[in-house]
């Protein structure tokens, strides 16, 4: 079994522990230091990039809004809703609401922002992230699909082929699961708006 701890073996172990432990300590510590420094240096740039991406997403569902303020989630009603932004124009009156929604798509969660105007019509949606199959579900990020939601009244129905009536959305051919998921998300946002944000 393991050699018994003779005196010179103990010194050899101590020497080796110091040697190996010390080198590894030195290398990892120096690397940690460099990373801490680089992280601090780029932190501002990263925050700016992330804020920029978020604002850009909100702006193109609610073009006429000047600024956005975070709004606390009212009650448990919107389990699909992840975040709400209150959109106001220059002189502070409400223009509408932006709700970030995350629904279960074909390949995984699909996250998008829904812009709802003061009177309840859907100003538009913007897909942020998804892991749908390229060429099928991924086509939900093309204007032909998400453009259909602009200036529509909830609740919306998903149909195959041509969208006839006012509240119908034409599903992407071959990606009905993704199209239905997005439409359910939009209906959930509209329903949440109807219950909690209508009066404000």
């Amino acid at each position: 079994m393991t050699e018994k701890m003779t005196p010179e073996l103990r010194t050899e172990t101590r020497k080796k522990v110091l040697h190996l432990g010390g080198t590894l300590f030195l290398v990892t510590a120096v690397t940690g230091l460099i990373l801490g420094f680089v992280e601090w240096g780029t932190r501002i740039a990263i925050e700016k990039a992330q804020a920029e991406a978020k604002a850009e997403a909100l702006r193109n569902v609610m073009p006429e809004a000047a600024s956005f303020a975070a709004e606390p989630m009212a009650d448990a009603g919107g389990e699909m809703i992840t975040e709400i932004q209150h959109a106001v124009d220059k002189d502070g009156s409400t223009v509408g609401w932006c709700l970030s929604v995350s629904t279960k798509g074909y390949g995984g969660p699909v996250a998008f922002v829904v812009g709802i105007a003061k009177d309840g019509t859907i100003r538009g949606i913007n897909i942020l992230s998804h892991s749908e199959t390229p060429g099928l579900g991924a086509r939900s990020t093309e204007p032909e699909f998400y453009g259909q939601f602009a200036d529509k009244k909830a609740p919306l129905k998903i149909v195959k082929g041509e969208a006839g009536a006012e509240d119908e959305i034409a599903a992407i051919s071959g990606a009905t699961i993704t199209s239905t998921a997005v439409t359910n998300g939009v209906n959930a946002a509209a329903e949440y708006w109807d219950k909690n944000l209508k009066g404000k």
Binding site: A29, T31, F37
Partner: protein, 276 residues
């Protein structure tokens, strides 16, 4: 900038983790020390360390212990190529010293005329497949060359070509690497030294009368060659004459004495000069 969070904490955390793991490994390497053949370490140093598994062994350590413990070939590292193979050969003491230059030799004269084809075989045109036929071969003589050219296809130097149902060795291209010998199901091909020019061109261990029935150019084990050899270079091994190339002085008496003329008097060929 909050000095603590940006500089000290990452440094401390990573440093402590590194230090702890280093110490842990140090203690482990002492407590778990196991004696290992030092050649494995040497070979492991010579290997590129890509752990890519291209040699079929799991990573470089696997291959190194494979070479030392179960004698794997020294050239299996595709990434390292020839230089690494050379180094491993030296470490293992298998010097790639200039071995006696050898060449392939066809121990059969059973052309379709000399030895009739018994069966009309239309299976896979490959000797190894044809050798599984009941009776061991579509030919009358089970020791004879089947003639589907497996040796020709495996030869890495293109030194073999089929002529009249038997392989012909191109002495300029044949380097004696032995790939054909290991692939021939009937072991008709064998390696002989390049300087030897008199070799028995038969592979049959049957008694004389039976050989006469199946082949007109086979060795019937009569022993005339052995009796007439001035230097006793020929022995009869189970009714097949075998010439010892080192003793043979190439006088050719046996060739003339052999009743079936199955001893081949190939012209001796000079060793392959280095053109590369």
């Amino acid at each position: 900038m909050d000095f603590m969070h940006v500089i000290v904490e990452p440094l401390a955390l990573m440093g402590i983790m590194g230090g702890v793991f280093g110490a842990l490994l140090a203690v482990a390497s002492i407590v778990f020390r196991v004696h290992q053949d030092e050649r494995i370490g040497l070979i492991r140093a010579a290997l590129p360390g890509a752990n890519c598994g291209g040699c079929g062994y799991p990573g470089c350590d696997g291959y190194a212990s494979g070479v030392v413990n179960d004698g794997a070939a020294t050239n299996k590292c595709s990434v390292g190529g020839a230089p690494v193979a050379q180094k491993i050969a030296e470490i293992m003491g298998v010097k790639a010293e200039a071995a006696e230059p050898m060449r392939a030799f066809v121990r059969c004269k059973g052309t379709p005329e000399a030895s009739p084809r018994l069966a009309d075989y239309d299976g896979v045109r490959d000797c190894r497949a044809a050798a599984t036929v009941p009776g061991g071969s579509p030919n009358a003589c089970p020791f004879s060359c089947i003639g589907f050219g497996t040796c020709v296809s495996v030869c890495p130097f293109g030194a073999l070509s089929m002529e009249n149902g038997l392989p012909k060795v191109d002495l300029d291209k044949c380097t004696g690497c032995g790939v054909c010998v290991s692939n021939c199901p009937k072991s008709v091909l064998t390696l002989v030294p390049r300087k030897a020019n008199i070799v028995v061109a038969c592979n049959s261990h049957w008694k004389g009368p039976m050989v006469r029935k199946v082949c007109s150019a086979g060795c019937i084990g009569c022993g005339l060659c052995a009796k007439n050899c001035p230097v006793q270079a020929i022995t009869i091994d189970r009714d097949l004459a075998v010439i010892d190339p080192n003793k043979c002085i190439g006088c050719g008496r046996c060739v003339s004495k052999c009743p079936t003329k199955c001893i081949a008097a190939d012209q001796a060929c000079t060793p392959l000069e280095q053109t590369a």
